[in-house]
């Protein structure tokens, strides 16, 4: 099974004529997910590799039953593009872009929630349910079907982590990149609820980093009596305080933001925390070993 995306996903690609858009047309199709239509505002284009281009998301959804969207536009246009696909009725939206003003992220998130839409992003590679469907640009070969639900604040770290898990025979139900920005369409607490409700997901792997409060949400979840067993990796032990480490939210401002404090909080809640990337698969295995005990 899967959350957010499945074989019935019909994808609208917003910004289909750019590099990312053109790549995803081929890449999604290769994974068995249908890119049914695209938008290329400002360009007079009829189709990209046979995928028809429309003047509006509403028309694309109406003509092709698109129910999911992948939005590749620069930050200054992002709020408008996301509002458009929300209004058009797409129920799952991935916005991978970075550099989005936090205020626009707040507005996006509020609009999505008001319409019962799940927005994943900003600053995310998207969502993949191995063997089922993908809505994003992560390297497909890293993933295999299985019983782990994965949540990550970082894109490339999630590729590396899942590549390792897959290599050790630890497949995934769904991998959700929640992104590295302070305000997220889907935050860790909400992603956890989705995986918690998914019957096929036996255990959860969380990939966190310094700064922000998502790790507290993971600890709160893990402390619940009905929580699924959870493993985690928190990166940024070597990061100096007071410096933004690439992601807008990855900054050690107070003691609670540090890698050590987050690890302590997670361990206290019963999370299997890996000391580093090389120990992640073992931590995930420990979590799985607790399933149905």
């Amino acid at each position: 099974m899967s959350v957010l995306v499945d074989r019935a996903s019909r994808v609208l690609i917003y910004g289909i004529a750019g590099n990312f858009g053109r790549f995803s047309v081929r890449d999604l199709a290769a994974y068995g997910t249908k890119p049914v239509a695209g938008l290329a505002p400002g360009r007079a284009i009829r189709d990209v590799d046979g995928v028809p281009v429309y003047a509006s998301a509403a028309a694309a959804c109406r003509e092709h039953g698109a129910n999911a969207a992948l939005v590749y536009v620069p930050a200054p246009m992002a709020l408008d593009a996301v509002l458009e696909v929300i209004d058009a009725g797409c129920k799952v939206i991935v916005y991978p872009g970075d550099g989005l003003p936090v205020q626009d992220a707040i507005d996006m998130r509020a609009a999505a929630r008001e319409h019962g839409t799940v927005l994943v992003g900003p600053n995310t590679p998207g969502v993949i349910s191995p063997g089922e469907a993908k809505l994003g640009f992560m390297p497909s070969f890293c993933y295999t079907p299985g019983t782990l639900g994965v949540i990550s604040r970082s894109g490339s770290l999630s590729y590396e982590a899942c590549w390792r898990l897959s290599g050790e025979g630890l497949g995934q139900t769904t991998v959700i990149g929640i992104g590295g920005d302070p305000v997220k369409g889907l935050n860790a607490a909400e992603a956890l609820e989705l995986l918690h409700a998914d019957a096929t997901t036996a255990a959860i792997v969380y990939l966190g980093e310094i700064g922000g409060s998502d790790e507290d949400a993971v600890a709160r979840y893990a402390a619940r009596p009905d929580a699924k067993p959870t493993a985690a990796l928190v990166v940024g032990a070597a990061a100096p305080p007071g410096k933004k480490m690439g992601h807008a939210a990855a900054l050690v401002g107070s003691q609670a933001d540090s890698q050590a404090a987050k690890v302590q909080t997670l361990r206290a809640a019963g999370v299997h925390v890996a000391a580093g990337l090389p120990q992640l698969a073992a931590a995930a295995r420990s979590a799985l070993a607790r399933v149905n005990k």
Binding site: P101, A110, R113, M138, S158, V183, D216, A238, K244, A250
Partner: protein
């Protein structure tokens, strides 16, 4: 981007928030220009916190005392930062010091109002009342009033705080601020006056705020030259004191590799994330920056590409290695979209691309101990 106190107060004033009438002192001689009353407060303009505890605010009774304090403050460092200027203001007696701020709350997905009836230097120890607003248009004065009436007995003051919170929230949205913190917020004759201002602007909003764009550009000129060059070219760089240069992609993955380098007993020389500019020019600059730093003994290239297709990166790397005139050893570990083509390119160029990160780190370690 944290505004200095003086700029923050000017922003507040422009939105109708009461602040003391102060003057900026760029050098000690500027004290002569002060036409306000004594006693006065002389305050170091720094972006680090805990200034008050560290002696960064002086009460001065006369121009002579002000000059002496200015000399001392200009010569002081606060968490390693020298003040760019001082702010001189009337020293105002007040009945109470409160704490009020607007912050962005990631867990809730929007703004929050924080209030404590006891402001001042020890706010970290307080448990402020929190009103979770969410998007700004969800602000409801009555919800905040209900919350404050539990924390604050003075009902007339509650109304002023509610109105001030509404005003500060407007400042946050209008100026794309992530934090608008007033500590202390003084009560003088029952009225509120912002004695300090800590306003953090959202750098991502620079495209719609000329002042943010200018200030970001200005601050880069004060960064170490090589960090400035990196940032100017969209490479995210944080310089560290280490000997292992790192050229990487993705913030989380970069930190994971830094942690592995540290776990292996080495020290990363930088956080250097090239994912926002994964072009030949970007990577060339990354190499140039690390090659010219004598402290760096070896370079690890670690990229797990999704949006960045690593066959293209591999092509760039083989070119750079061919041109490069620096003897510092480089270890590669690239994986991700396009990896089969990448492996072929690297092999053809006679370069080794490690399959596992552990192997790459071990290879660096072997070099590093030899260096």
């Amino acid at each position: 981007m944290l505004m200095i106190e003086h700029a923050g107060k000017a922003l507040l004033r422009s939105h109708g928030v009461a602040v003391p009438h102060g003057q900026l002192v760029r050098e000690t001689a500027d004290i002569e220009q002060w036409r306000g009353p004594y006693p006065a407060a002389l305050k170091a303009q720094v972006s680090s916190g805990g200034r008050g505890k560290a002696g960064g605010v002086a009460r001065v009774e006369t121009p002579d005392e002000a000059r002496a304090a200015a000399l001392r403050l200009f010569d002081s460092e606060f968490q390693g930062e020298r003040p760019s200027a001082l702010l001189i203001e009337p020293w105002l007696g007040h009945e109470r010091e409160l704490y009020l701020s607007i912050v962005v709350d990631g867990g809730y997905g929007g703004y929050a109002v924080l209030y404590s009836p006891n402001g001042g230097v020890d706010i970290e120890a307080q448990q402020p009342s929190v009103y979770e607003v969410g998007p700004a248009h969800n602000f409801r004065a009555h919800a905040l009033r209900a919350l404050l009436s539990r924390a604050e007995r003075d009902t007339a003051l509650v109304e002023r705080i509610v109105a001030m919170a509404r005003r500060l929230l407007r400042v946050a949205t209008v100026s794309d601020a992530l934090t608008v913190e007033i500590n202390p917020l003084a009560v003088i004759d029952g009225k509120l006056l912002a004695l300090d201002a800590k306003i953090a602007r959202d750098e991502a909003a620079a495209f719609r705020h000329a002042d943010i764009a200018q200030e970001c550009a200005h601050r880069r000129t004060h960064e170490a030259a090589r960090v400035a060059r990196a940032l100017d070219n969209n490479l995210m760089m944080v310089a560290l004191e280490g000997e292992i240069g790192l050229i990487s992609g993705g913030a989380g993955m970069t930190m994971a590799v830094m942690d592995m380098i540290a776990a292996a007993g080495m020290r990363p020389a930088c956080f250097l994330d090239c994912s926002s500019n994964p072009t030949p020019a970007g990577y060339r600059l990354a190499f140039a920056l690390l090659d010219e730093d004598p402290a760096i003994k070896a370079i690890l290239v670690s990229i797990f590409g999704g949006g960045t297709h690593i066959d293209r990166v591999a092509r760039t790397m083989s070119e750079i290695m061919r041109e490069r005139r620096c003897a510092k050893p480089v270890v590669f570990r690239m994986n991700g979209n396009g990896r089969d083509a990448a492996d072929a390119i690297m092999t053809q160029a006679g370069l080794c691309n490690h399959q596992r990160l552990e192997d790459a780190v071990a290879a660096v370690h072997a070099l590093g101990t030899r260096a």
